[in-house]
C-alpha cells in the first residue's frame, strides 16, 4: 500500500506484542519509524523487523513500566494498544478480573502517557493514539469491564487532548470494529455466526489487523496536526448504520 513517511520518528507501542499491536508496530516501521514495543509477551517481536525492539514488561505494574522506559530516548509517538478481555456475567465477574482489565486497558494508558510526556521531542507535534474499540459505544454480553475500560479510554482521549495541546501533543483514538484476532476467534471460526455478523457491516467483512494501520499512520503524521480529541472508527461502517438494514441481498447479488 502507498504509505505515509514517518522516517526519523520514534514510536512507543504498548501491547506491541499482541496481534493488533504488532500489526501497528509493523505499519509504523514500514513507514520508516523506529518502534519500541512494550508487552508482557514479546515472542511475536523477536526475530521480526530490526526496526522494532521489544521490551518485556507487565503493563499493569506501573513501577516496572517506569523502569522499562528508562532506556527509551526522545519520543515522537505513543500508541496504547495494550488490551485484555475477561468475559463473565455480572454475578460471576469478580473484582480481580475487573482490576486486571482496567489496569491494562485504561490505567496503563494514563500512566504511560504521563511517564512519556517529558520524553516527547520538542519542535514538532507529538502524537498519542489510544486503541479503543467500537465497544466503547455498543454493549456486548459479558464484556462489562472491557467495554467500560474502552469507554474510559475515549473519555481520556478527550481529556488529555485539552491539556497536552499546550505541549504540542495531539491525542486521538482509533476504535476498531470486530477484528480477526484470537480474542474474536469464537466469532470468525463459526462460519454461520461470522456471516450473520458480517451482514451487519456495510463493507461486508470483519476487520483484519492491518486495516488499522492506515488510520494510525494518519494520526501519527503531520497530516493530522489540527486533529485532536477525536476517535476514528475503523469498522467498515458498522457503527454508522442500523444493522438490520444492511442489504445483504444487494451484496450477494453483486458477488
Amino acid at each position: 500500500m502507498k504509505t505515509i513517511d514517518l522516517s526519523g520518528k520514534l514510536a512507543v507501542v504498548s501491547g506491541g506484542g499482541g496481534e493488533i499491536g504488532y500489526a501497528l508496530c509493523e505499519g509504523l516501521a514500514g513507514a520508516g519509524a523506529d518502534v519500541v514495543a512494550l508487552d508482557i509477551n514479546v515472542g511475536r517481536i523477536e526475530g521480526g523487523s530490526d526496526k522494532i525492539a521489544g521490551i518485556e514488561v507487565d503493563l499493569s505494574d506501573t513501577a516496572a513500566t517506569a523502569s522499562a522506559l528508562e532506556s527509551v530516548g526522545e519520543v515522537d509517538i505513543f500508541v496504547h494498544a495494550a488490551g485484555i478481555n475477561i468475559a463473565a456475567s455480572v454475578s460471576e465477574f469478580d473484582e480481580a478480573a475487573w482490576d486486571a482489565v482496567f489496569n491494562v486497558n485504561l490505567k496503563s494508558a494514563f500512566f504511560l502517557t504521563k511517564m512519556l510526556i517529558p520524553r516527547f521531542r520538542t519542535g514538532s507535534v507529538g502524537k498519542v493514539v489510544f486503541i479503543s474499540s467500537i465497544s466503547a459505544r455498543l454493549g456486548y454480553p459479558g464484556l462489562h469491564a472491557y467495554t467500560a475500560s474502552k469507554g474510559g479510554l475515549d473519555a481520556l482521549v478527550r481529556n488529555l487532548s485539552t491539556e497536552l495541546a499546550a505541549r504540542d501533543i495531539c491525542v486521538n483514538g482509533i476504535a476498531p470494529g470486530t477484528t480477526k484476532t484470537a480474542m474474536t476467534k469464537g466469532l470468525w471460526e463459526d462460519r454461520q455466526k461470522c456471516r450473520a455478523h458480517e451482514a451487519t457491516i456495510p463493507m461486508g467483512r470483519m476487520a483484519e489487523c492491518g486495516d488499522h494501520v492506515g488510520p494510525l499512520l494518519f494520526l501519527c503524521s503531520e497530516m493530522s496536526d489540527y486533529v485532536t480529541g477525536q476517535i476514528v472508527c475503523c469498522d467498515g461502517g458498522l457503527t454508522s448504520v442500523q444493522a438490520d438494514f444492511v442489504d445483504l441481498r444487494l451484496r450477494e447479488g453483486n458477488e
Binding site: 502507498k2 461486508g204 486495516d211 492506515g214 497530516m223 489540527y226 486533529v227 461502517g237 448504520v241
Partner: protein, 254 residues
C-alpha cells in the same frame, strides 16, 4: 515514495478558494487528476494553470452546484477529460446568514441548494461513474456546524446537519459497490468564509480571538489541515473506514 492518490480522478466542488482550493492542490500533489469547480472563471483558470505548471493534472469546470444540470455536465466533463471518475469531494458551501425570520426565502433556498442539494447532485450523477470505475470514495466537507449552532446561521447549520446522515446513507447503500463515504467536519479554519461568518456574531470584533482561545491547540486551522484529512479519506489509508465523520477543529469541540 509513491503518492497516496496516484491514478485517482476527483471532482472537488467549490475549489476556487479556501478549503476546496487546498484540497485540489493537495490531491494533485498526491497524484490525482482534479476537476476544479466554482463560478469564478478567473480564479479557477489560474488554479488550473498553477497545478499544471507544477506537473499536476487539473481542469477547471464552471458550474453552479445548486443546478442539477450543471453538476451533471461537470461529471460528464470529468469523464471526457480524464476517462474515469473515482473520488467525489462535495465541498462547496455558502453561509446565507441572518435570523431565521429575517433571511429571504431565496437565501434559504440558495443555501440549501448549494450546501445540501449540491452534495446530492454530485452523488446523483457521480456515483454511477464510481461504480463503473469499480469503486471509489466520497469525501463530504461538512462542518462542526453539523453538530452545533452558531448565531444567525440557520440555513448553514441546517444544511450541514443534513450532510452527516446523508453521507451515512451513501456509505450504507454503496459499500456493496466498493464505495466508501465519509465526512470532514472542520472547525474554525482560516478561509474567506470564516471572515464572513463572524459578521453574524454579536461580538464580531473579538470572536476570532475568542475562538482561537477555545481551541486546544491555540490557533485557527488552515485549509491545508483540512486537505490532509481529505487525502486520508480519499486514499487507501482509510480503506476500512466508511460512514465516519472526522472533526478537524484543533479540539474546539472536545
Amino acid at each position: 515514495m509513491s503518492k497516496l492518490l496516484d491514478g485517482e480522478v476527483a471532482i472537488i466542488t467549490g475549489s476556487t478558494s479556501g478549503m476546496g482550493e487546498a484540497i485540489a492542490r493537495r490531491f494533485a500533489k498526491e497524484g490525482a487528476a482534479v476537476v476544479i469547480n466554482g463560478t469564478n472563471e478567473e480564479r479557477g483558470s489560474r488554479i488550473e494553470y498553477e497545478i499544471v505548471k507544477e506537473g499536476g493534472n487539473a481542469a477547471f469546470f464552471k458550474a453552479d452546484v445548486s443546478s442539477a444540470s450543471e453538476v451533471e455536465a461537470m461529471v460528464e466533463f470529468a469523464l471526457g477529460k480524464f476517462s474515469k471518475l473515482s473520488v467525489l469531494v462535495p465541498n462547496a458551501g455558502i453561509l446565507g446568514n441572518g435570523l431565521a425570520t429575517e433571511i429571504t426565502l431565496e437565501t434559504w433556498d440558495k443555501t440549501i441548494g448549494v450546501n445540501l442539494n449540491g452534495v446530492y447532485y454530485l452523488c446523483r450523477y457521480g456515483l454511477p461513474k464510481l461504480i463503473e470505475a469499480g469503486g471509489g470514495k466520497v469525501v463530504v466537507n461538512a462542518s462542526i456546524a453539523s453538530f452545533k449552532s452558531f448565531p444567525q446561521h440557520p440555513a448553514y447549520c441546517a444544511s450541514k446537519g443534513a450532510l452527516i446522515p446523508f453521507m451515512k446513507n451513501i456509505a450504507q447503500d454503496y459499500a456493496v459497490h466498493n464505495i466508501r463515504a465519509n465526512a470532514l467536519c472542520p472547525g474554525p479554519v482560516d478561509t474567506p468564509l470564516i471572515w464572513d461568518s463572524v459578521k453574524a456574531f454579536p461580538n464580531a470584533d473579538s470572536i476570532i480571538e475568542e475562538t482561537i482561545g477555545m481551541t486546544c491547540v491555540g490557533r485557527l486551522g488552515t485549509p491545508e489541515d483540512v486537505a490532509e484529512a481529505a487525502v486520508f479519506f480519499a486514499s487507501d489509508q482509510s480503506s476500512f473506514i466508511t460512514g465516519a465523520s472526522l472533526t478537524i477543529d484543533g479540539g474546539i469541540m472536545t
